[in-house]
Every structure is written in C-alpha cells, then in structure tokens.
Symmetry: C2
Subunit: 455 residues, 2 copies
C-alpha cells in the first residue's frame, strides 16, 4: 500500500499514542513537574526510534531537556530539513473549568481534549508519523530530516540559546519547518510571515515590612496594591495605547501595503467576540483589531498577586503587590531594550510611599519576519494549496516561538510554520483540544512536503 | 488573701489557660474553621463557669455563635455592666513569616506569641479572671456583670445585629465596657473616644469568557488586570486623596480643637516608620499622619487576584481580575451610602472592553464617637489613672468594632474601651503577641473598675 494508506491504517494507534503522550503532565512552568517534562522527552525519543528515525536522544540543557534525532540517508543531492516542535505544555489551572481532566485525554465527537492536545503534542507528532509511514512503505525518506524537539517552549526557551550555540552539528540544515503554529481554519491554509517577539517581567511594589491592620495603619502608610494599580495604569492608557516612554520608538509601522494584505484576510468581529466571550474588542487606537493582533506590540498583565485572596474579608493593608507582565514585540523592537524602558518607567513613575522593582522572568524572543520570496515558504505554500485546494492566506501571528529567532541567529535560517492547529482550540486555556481530522490531514501534508522538497 | 493576691497566685495557671485558648484556630473568615470557632465558644462557656459566673451559654446566630453569661447578685442599687470581647481570630497566613507556629503559643521573654494572643483572646480573658478573683476572695462582685463574647468580630459581625435585636434581655445593662481595644503604651493609658466605621466590598472586572493566550489575543480584547488597575487608580490619587465622587461629603472634618487635642498626644514619625518598615508615611494630603490614622476616612485595597500567580511565566490574558477593598469611615459617613458611591463610581469609570461589578463583603460598622462628658468614660479614666499613675491620653482609633455601633443602636449605650493590648503587638499580622505583664495589670484594672463603679 502507499504511505497515505499506511497513515489511514494506523490512525487509531496514532491517536492512542497521542493520548499516552498527553497523559504525561509535562508542565515546564512548574518546578514540581520537572521530572514529567523529562518523561515526555523520553517518550519522544522512544517514539522517534519506533518510527525508524535514527540517533534519537535526549540532551540536557541548563533547564528542561531537548530531543534530537535524524534520518540522513537521502543523499547529498537532497536538502536537509530540520523539523521543530515542543513536548512541554502550559499549566492546566484552573482545573475546575475543564470539562474532562486536562491530563486524562478524552475524545468527544471528532475532537481530542487534553492539555497539549494541539499545543504542541498533537502537532509535533504529525511529522514523526509522516516519516514513519514513508519509511515503512518506501524504505526511505525523500529528503534528509533532522528532528529538534524542546521541553521549555512554554516558558520562553530560556536555556536554548546556549545549547543551540554549542550544538550546531545536531541542527545543521538547509531549511527549518516548525510543527508549532497552525492553519487558518479547517478549510483554509495560511503562510505565517511574522511572529511577535517576547519579553517577560514582574513588577513588585513593597510598602510596610509585613501585612498591617488596615484600620490601625490605613492613612498612615501607602498601600502597595493601590500603588501597583497606579503603576500599571501609567503603562497603558485605558483606551489601549502603551504609555511606557519610548516603547514604540523602534516599531516598524505597518505600511499601506501591509494593511491592505491584512485586510484581504476575512475577519468577523462578531465571531471573534463570540469566540472569546469578551464584551468588545479592545486594542491600540488607530488600528483595526486584526492589525493590533498581528502587527502591533502589546503589553499584557498575565497575573496580579496582592494581600488577602481567600474567602470573605481580611482587613489587611498588604505589605506588597506584584504583577507579571509580558510584552509581545514587533520588528524591530528588542526584548532587552523594552525591558529596560519598562524598568526606567517604573522607577520614574513609582508612587510615593512605596518602593518598586522590576525583574526579568524567563522567556525572551526577538520578533520574527520572513523575508519576501523565501524559497521554503513558497514550496510549503504549494503543498498547502494542494492539500487544502485553496491558496493560503498570508498572515502574521501574535504569538512568539522564541527558538525561531534563536535558530535564525545561530543558523541563519528563517523557519517556515508548517503546523496544523487552529486558533480556537483553547491553547493555554481550559478545554484545550485538537481536531482529529486535522491530525490526519497534517500527516499527509508533511509527507508531501518532504516529497516536494526532494524534487 | 486579697483578690489581687489571688491574681498573683494563679497567674501561671491563667497563662496556661490562655495558651489552651490560643491553640483553638478559631479563624472566623475561613469556612473550614467554622467548627473551631464553636470550640472556642464552648471553651469560653466552660471558663466563665469555672470562674463562678452564672448562666454561661453559647447561642446560635445565622453564622458564628455568641456566648453570654452573668452574675447579677450585687443588688438593685448597683449598676449592671456589660463586658464585651471576641473569641474569633484573624487568618494566620502567611504562615512562613511566623517565628513560631501561630496556633502553638510560645513564650519568649515576657511576651506570649500566637494568633489571637492580644486580639482578642488574651484581652477578653482579663475581665473573666478579675471576676474569678473577686468571687473567690470576696464571695461576690461589686456590681452586676453581664458578659457578651462573640465569634465573628474579625469578619465584621455580620450576624450580630439581628441577634442583638432579638435578645435584649441578655444584654440589658447601664454601661458597656469593651475588652477589645488597647492602651497607649506600657506606661500610658488612654481613653478611646472614637472608632472608625467600616464598609467592605469587592470589585470584579470581567473580559473574555476564559483565560486566553496573551500572544493570540493581546491587542484584540481588553485585559481585566489592566482595567482593574485603571479602576483602582481612579478611586484614589497617587498622593492619597480618595477620588470616589461624593466620598467625603458627609465627613465631619476635624475642628481646630480636635487637631490640637490630637497634637498633644506624642507622635514619633521615625519610630512609626521603624515599627511598620514602610519607606515613608503616606496619607490624605493636608492632614498629619496621626490625623489621618485617627480622624480621616480611608479606602484600602486588602487584596487583588488576577490570572497566573504561580512560579515563572504563564502567557495568559486573564479572563477576570478582582480586588477586595475596605473603607474605614468617620462620623457622619454611612457604610451603605459609601458602598453605593463606590458602586456608582465603578459603573461611571469602568474602562472600555470589560464589565465591572461591585459586591458587598461581610462586615459593616457605623463610625462611633463618644459624647463629651460621658460618665462611664470618666470613671474608667480615673481607674486607669490610678493603675498607671498617669492621666490617660484622649485618643481615637483607626479600627472598627462593628458591634459597638450595633449596641449603641439597640441599647442606646456608648461603649467604653477598657482593654489592655498595644498597637505594636502585630494584630492581624504574623508574630502576634501579648505582653504578660499587661495581661496581669489588666486584671487588677478590671477588678478596680468594678469596685469603683459600685460606689
């Protein structure tokens, strides 16, 4: 039988295997799950080996491990491609909002629910399965293939830059394809031409030495919760413009051509509101929602902690308050410069009666913009057009894949997003799911991509 | 021997008993401690009975119970006094900041450490012990005495108003003395002439239906954490003036005479900063720190909850954010009116892209101001002057004892604060303690108060 028949014949096993993979709670952000991330890495090593890929091995970094493997017997006249994905997942909290438990994968209809189902466990299995089918049915792969999977994408890949710099021979390739990313919708493919960069930080405001009685000390010393509110409010106007001094200085604004290309992609504001459940869209004034999502930098509060958060009333005047913040950056913003601007802003705007400090959190990424006329992008676009029967949209993504900018720095290669999730699959949220028909479609697409790259 | 000799002879036992009392974690704010609050109430019933007080009994309310008891054999020509205190305590979190565990009372030097040591378990035992000594040594009390102890002071006594209204016969008295409160310092007594009122509420801001990926949706929908920051910042200027429309309308401002009386009480700003550990004092502009602490209303954030609060980075755009707020009120502010003003303010200032709602939390108190020339206050002042050898300062308190305003409403009596804690004893904070010499001194003072009130 042909390799696509092989995929059909083994799909049920592939789904069972994906369920096994999801059951490993490889939450990279939580220290108590360090061993689970390692277990997931070992699962990937074993799965690659089972598929017929060679040299599958886990490598230590200063944090969570990476997994590399290769199959390099297509011949020197064939290109070598590097396929990227990640086996770590986001924390699953709040657990009580999941319909079925996050680490007990459950199929409802044609969807598989579980943390990591789409981001990125299901998606990163796709190229492994395509390679297995090709090897099983043809005895070889059309091109030389390297696999590179990591266990720290969800915390911003902090330990990858030195590891990549130290191990170029494991990653040497002519093109990079990322199995983390996604398609426009179940009918329509896309070529993702830009990813946002990332900087992650925490602002901590301190007042008194310890929590105080709010009656005895209210009016005597400043309230760090209120001071933090003033600081945060000073960073972004209520109508959505970031007011950190210098924040927009290095931004390459969208050209009229960029804005026209973005406007050609369908956008249904009502559907977006229905999807998110938000009462209204909200972004930087002067730009459409799509332009903000794709082409403008953001500053988002990820969490705030202060004082009493249990049930009922506790009449304390808290000793401190802190906020986690991530900024998504666009070309040509630099993560370190943005961090410094925010630190300077906090110092300049710290309200009276408290002290404030800014610290970096793990995670950084340079913004990433694929150059026009990029060859691997063009071929991937042809495969997607063939598989979907529709010309891909040219899009940008609001998300960041920090390792993409590192690979660009170290290997000089722009990665091509070639992945099969969809934006509505509750990535990073409760009830994350992956569409099983897409899981199958992606396997064909990756097989055809390898064939097309060979000739 | 005389009754003060009895107190000396039995002090070691009294301290052991106070330790037993502190070991009961009667945290009224936490549902999981409901049974412990009841256990503490039963402990009080047993201790009153052991002291020779009669009719000691626990009474149910709609929430935590109260305990009443009496000794009414002094004769109809003697006044009847009502002594108030509370057997519930504040939550002990954060546990890791305690030198010894909060519910394992520990003596270091002449201080007894533990949650509730001073507020109010140690303080409320004092009048019971004075009565025990008088009964043991003289066979009677100089006046008729009722005891009224409650188990919900630390959550604002939400269920007391209807219970007090329904049980006036248990509380009928000529004067009320509160064993919750404190003295100026170990050398100097005080007469507390005012308590602040209280209103407690929560502001919740909602955006999307669930937490979203901050990269995919940042710039698309509003961030409830940032919106809450704008809302909170709109309620109070960075320099400390409350900017909720109408908030100060009903405030009776401090007169020149009030300000002069306050200025006569010693104040050491450097010592206050050393005590609290705050980098600077901070309160409403135009008033001294002491005036703000005692005579001006406050609006304090008690806690903020939003999004990811675990270790590291989670790149979410949170679905909601909420803040707990308590306001301390002065005469003639009304807790319900202040709540309504804040709710209206939140509605008027809700940032775009989110919804905001305000809900009441348990706890209310009217501000409380003792009229000039109040008789019980004058006698208590004489006893304190005799015991301390020093004229009491006339002070006000920033804290609230909601039941005081309820007793005033229902019984028409202004309570006199006659209690022996000190402000530096970490009430509501880690390492709460009570000074054992004060514990002893208070027992003599309560005995003498009863004697003085008899003649």
């Amino acid at each position: 039988m042909g390799w696509t028949d092989y995929l059909d014949a083994h799909q049920s096993r592939f789904i069972d295997e994906l369920c096994d993979f999801i059951r490993i709670p490889s939450v990279s952000a939580k220290p108590e799950h360090m061993a689970d991330v390692r277990t997931a890495g070992q699962w990937v090593v074993d799965r690659l080996t089972a598929a017929g890929i060679e040299n599958a091995r886990m490598y230590d970094t200063d944090g969570h491990p990476v997994v590399c493997a290769d199959w390099l017997h297509a011949g020197a006249d064939k290109p070598t491609i590097l396929i990227y994905g990640h086996f770590d997942v986001q924390p699953a909290e709040p657990f009580d909002l999941w319909t079925s438990p996050p680490f007990e994968p459950t199929i409802r209809g044609d969807r598989l629910y579980g943390r990591g189902a789409t981001d990125d466990k299901g998606a990163m299995m796709i190229p492994i399965l395509a390679a297995e089918a090709l090897l099983a049915e043809t005895g070889q792969l059309p091109v030389n293939v390297r696999f590179f999977f990591e266990g720290q994408e969800e915390i911003g890949s902090p330990d990858l830059p030195p590891w990549i710099e130290a191990n170029p021979e494991l990653l040497k390739a002519d093109m990079i394809f990322s199995a983390d990313g996604g398609q426009w919708d179940t009918e329509t493919p896309q070529m993702v031409l830009a990813l946002k960069g990332l900087t992650s930080l925490e602002v901590k405001v301190k007042g008194a030495r310890a929590d105080l009685h709010s009656g005895m000390h209210g009016g005597g010393v400043a309230n760090p919760g209120m001071a933090l509110a003033h600081l945060l409010a000073s960073m972004k106007s209520a109508d959505g413009r970031i007011t950190v001094e210098g924040f927009y200085d290095d931004v390459i604004d969208l050209t009229e051509e960029d804005r026209a290309a973005i406007a050609r992609v369908p956008w249904d504001e009502a559907a977006y509101l229905a999807q998110t459940g938000a009462p209204a869209t909200h972004g930087e004034p002067g730009y459409t929602t799509r332009e903000n999502l794709w082409g403008r930098p953001t500053l988002e509060v990820n969490g705030i902690t202060c004082g009493w958060q249990g049930a009922g009333t506790k009449t304390v005047l808290p000793a401190e308050a802190s906020a986690k913040i991530t900024c998504r950056l666009v070309a040509n913003q630099n993560p370190e410069k943005i961090f410094d601007l925010i630190a300077a802003h906090v110092e300049a705007h710290c309200p009276p009666g408290v002290t404030a400090e800014v610290s970096k959190n793990p995670g950084r990424a340079d913004p990433f913009l694929v150059p026009a006329g990029h060859n691997a992008t063009a071929i991937a676009g042809q495969v997607l057009e063939e598989v979907y029967g529709k010309t891909p949209y040219k899009t940008r993504a609001g998300g960041s894949i920090p390792v993409m900018s590192t690979l660009l720095d170290q290997l000089g290669l722009h990665a091509v997003m070639f992945a099969f999730g969809h934006d509505d699959e509750n990535q990073h949220a409760p009830d994350e799911f992956f569409r099983l028909p897409t899981f199958r479609l992606g396997q064909t697409a990756y097989g055809r991509l390898m064939e097309r790259l060979a000739g």
